[in-house]
Amino acid sequence: MRKNRKWNILYIFFAFVLFFPVLLLLVKSVSYGWRWGEIIPTSFSARGFDVLLNDSRFYSAIGMSFLIGNMVILLNLLIAVPAARALAFHTFRGKSLVEVVLLLPILIPSLAVAMGIHITMIRLGLADQWLGVVLVHLIPTVPYSIKILRSGFERLGQKWEEQASSLGGTKMAILYRIYLPQLLPSFRSMVFLIFVISLSQYALTSIIGGGNVLTLAMLYFPFLSSVDEAVIASFSIVFALLPICVMIGFELVFRLVIPYQKRVFLD
């Protein structure tokens, strides 16, 4: 028991270290003229939030970010679920090569490959469209989804699939009714991570989206090069709130879509 408490203190410490900067950011977003020497600001103002809420494109940008983020999540599911399953359950020659290639997008400097990607997208006729943006957002996200889902599949193992298919389940039915509910924690992590990554893509979005596709990052990133800290802070908070909304939204969707939820499995 005592041992447990010791770790809890450690946890609280860690949580605090990670939470404290965020707290400071919150205060900063409503502070006015906060200078060195003042532990808490002496005056407050909602100007930071005013600036974003008054930006005419703020809401449409949020909408677009949601649209793109969710599309990216869906496509990730379509691409990563079979790939992760295959990597988890099968061994074959050249498997490590495939793994390396799938890891490349997060290893190579994105500036280096941006031009090539842009040219490809122009050739495909997808540049300057939101669909194109969705596709390029897959590049930095798919490797992560595959990683997360793969370890989920590995943890469960193939035995469930064998048992269920022997009972007459089709591949889809097994995936949906046996693996999906049990992989829920993996899906949660995946949705979270992917949305965060998609949301914070600025360079790829601006180049491929060509301004036709205005996401929150497009509005937000230019402000990062201004000295207006209240705006940066309030933007950052909104920026961080979106994934939380998406998580809640997906939680509801999971409740509706994923079967057998009476017993919630958290692990």
Partner: protein, 288 residues
Amino acid sequence: MKWFKSNNWSLALLPAFLFTFCLVVYGLFMAAQESVTTLNGFSLDAYKNIFDNEAFLESLTYSLRIAFVSTVLSLVLGLLLTKFLFETLNNHLARTVVWLPMLFPHFVWGYMMILLFSQTGWFSTMLHAMSIIDSPDQFPVLTNDRYGIGIILTYTLKEIPFVVLMLLPVYAQLNRDLPNVVMTLGGNKWHVFKTVEWPWLFPVLMEAGLIVFAFILAAFEVPYLLGTTYPKMVSVLAYEWFYQGDWSKRPESFAVMMTVTAIIFGLLIILLSLVSRSRYRMMKGNGM
């Protein structure tokens, strides 16, 4: 047709594989081409130039050092966090708090570090309020400093959650009896870690480390905000050479990026050879 049937997995992997291959490998190819193309056609001048450039070499070592230190720190802290708080982290809410830094882009996280650790940051103010210092310049230089402390601090804190995310499944899958085996054979806690946990952690840590390392080496926002004027991290150099001036430095910029890519590839190959054999044995082993 038969081939597809018997190699079901290939069909499943095809979209992901083709997709990354077409976009990323083609992009890489373009970048490589760009780095060896000048107005007079093919030339390796760009590489010659950067490797003759004292400033580049120095910033390369500087970057490698910073990337290495931040990676190791975030791995170690992430590992400690996961190891000791595994039970706590099983709780959904507790995990959410640890993941907090992931919600913010790197740049913002860097900015928060400035709010906290700069000479006029909140800690400095705090020390002032406690009458330990009486002017900002008595506060130690932790941002925009020579040694990249600010950058390291930012990356370390920001990447810890990622490391935790990668390690949680490993701990979830660890065999619960093996630690008992070690204990009963006379091993202490350290032996348990070394013989039971480490072999499984090692490949995952290496992979996470590589991802983090590659990211730190390639991303420029944080060092741009928190770095020093000299030496700069290579990513900042590449960025400046890419965008600024009259674009005559672009081949150099691409050469820098290709060099970084080559380094990462080198590491990747080393890690693969280190990890793959032991992983294979463990896959077959009964320990899991």
